[in-house]
Symmetry: C2
Subunit: 304 residues, 2 copies
Amino acid sequence: MRFILPVLDQSQSSGMVNENEWFLEPMESKGTLFGLKLDGERLHAEQSAFQHIEIYQTETFGKLMVIDGCVMLTDRDNFLYHEMIAHPALCLHPNPRRVLIIGGGDCGTLREVLRHPQVESAVQVDIDERVTRLAEEYFPALCDSNDDARAQLLFDDGIAYVRNAADQAFDLIIVDSTDPVGPAEGLFNRAFYAQCHRALADDGILVQQSESPLIHLELIQQVHASMKGEGFAATRLVNFPQPVYPSGWWSATLAFKQAEGAQRQADSARVEAISADTLYFNAATLNGALALPNFVAKALAEKA
Amino acid sequence: MRFILPVLDQSQSSGMVNENEWFLEPMESKGTLFGLKLDGERLHAEQSAFQHIEIYQTETFGKLMVIDGCVMLTDRDNFLYHEMIAHPALCLHPNPRRVLIIGGGDCGTLREVLRHPQVESAVQVDIDERVTRLAEEYFPALCDSNDDARAQLLFDDGIAYVRNAADQAFDLIIVDSTDPVGPAEGLFNRAFYAQCHRALADDGILVQQSESPLIHLELIQQVHASMKGEGFAATRLVNFPQPVYPSGWWSATLAFKQAEGAQRQADSARVEAISADTLYFNAATLNGALALPNFVAKALAEKA
């Protein structure tokens, strides 16, 4: 079977519903495409001040949020990303009390962060309040912890927020952003990493979603090199499955201010406690996520 | 963006080449779709005695083989599947001398098996000779070891081959098949597992590709339960990324005749030796592949 893919412009994007309707995300630059079968009409679409946001009902993955044509999350598999961007760093940090989340407007990362009783405050700074409002409406489970007394939800420029933060204000900064284009572009550069470095305590860890180990390997090299260039002593890569993102294989990069941080073992009591409520994360999958395939290790050794 | 996907029948599948041409594989039953951007005309298509085989040139994944509309392999990422269906079992077995591969006509698994100097014979039985002939032409690297004196390539019915095999004839049987429909359907049933059990030595291991931990979890449960039902003492799941297969996350199931086999650690000297030439497999990724996410462990504990 071979299909000719019609390219429709956004004005046509509320096309008719029929039995063969799929949401398709072609990633032209990488030559891959992912799609989910839809169930019924699009539930919501809007152009916010920052981006185009859509909500669909899929046939098999629950609800789907799309931003600027890119799949952000589905009900069915967001646990992989949210657990793995949060828990590895939280369990590797000796005492994560003050957490900053940049982006993360769907609140799924915030929920995972607040599962850790050690966390005393979690500030989420997403530039687009509409993402959070739509998450509250269409993905209420992700917003379970928004009313936690430790949570603070801000809708503001994350880059400016970090620039204005006090020195050593945070133990953990998690950059839970969209791809490095559009509003998120400034979250993938050295000036931003330098400010994160300054705003982290000495034993602090910066976490950034860092795309696919297979098809974005050069980006991962650049992210690691840039973080080290701005003073982080060491980096580690966390990799995990994420079916709805390009290639189905995704990563987060951890940058440690102190070299010994990258040598530290995860706190096994905390790993065990958290694993009681997770779907993917546990001591074994944490070690698996930190395991580097040969081709990734080689790429990071060559340039990172 | 939203696209309406045209459903074309196979007679139209040599559709015109244009700048927006993709190979798309919709998996209707699971509601997911994967696509690769093509580069130029389809290189080959034929209806063999058993299935419809196509070869394409993709823009970013090298050559692509498609059987009955399903992606079989690409140049770029087949190393993940081939390394992970072969090396875990070979390194967990105490002394894998006699290996049988059922299916595997592209010869990539055979190549990985023959990297192990302990292997004295490797018999590959694929029902469709055309797959191997096309692999030789379009994926010559995978066929690197076809002339190895230890290799025997047979084109025959793998189910009958196992049924006719002597008791305890093999140390390892690897079922490297297509999905459990069409010619491969009989490779996913209890009668076949019973024959594999008989044809394996006491410390033998049966390996079967077992689809996606996320979207085929029930099938994985059934495979494990069926293997145990036919006398295998224990099973383990190996999971790994495989971007071109549905969900981008794939698995192989290992069934051990003896319970102690499933407790055995991999031979670390062999793991280290093999890892010198692999792109994904090493001691750390092996442990990672054997790590069960909580939801998978729960599913296998409930029914397997």
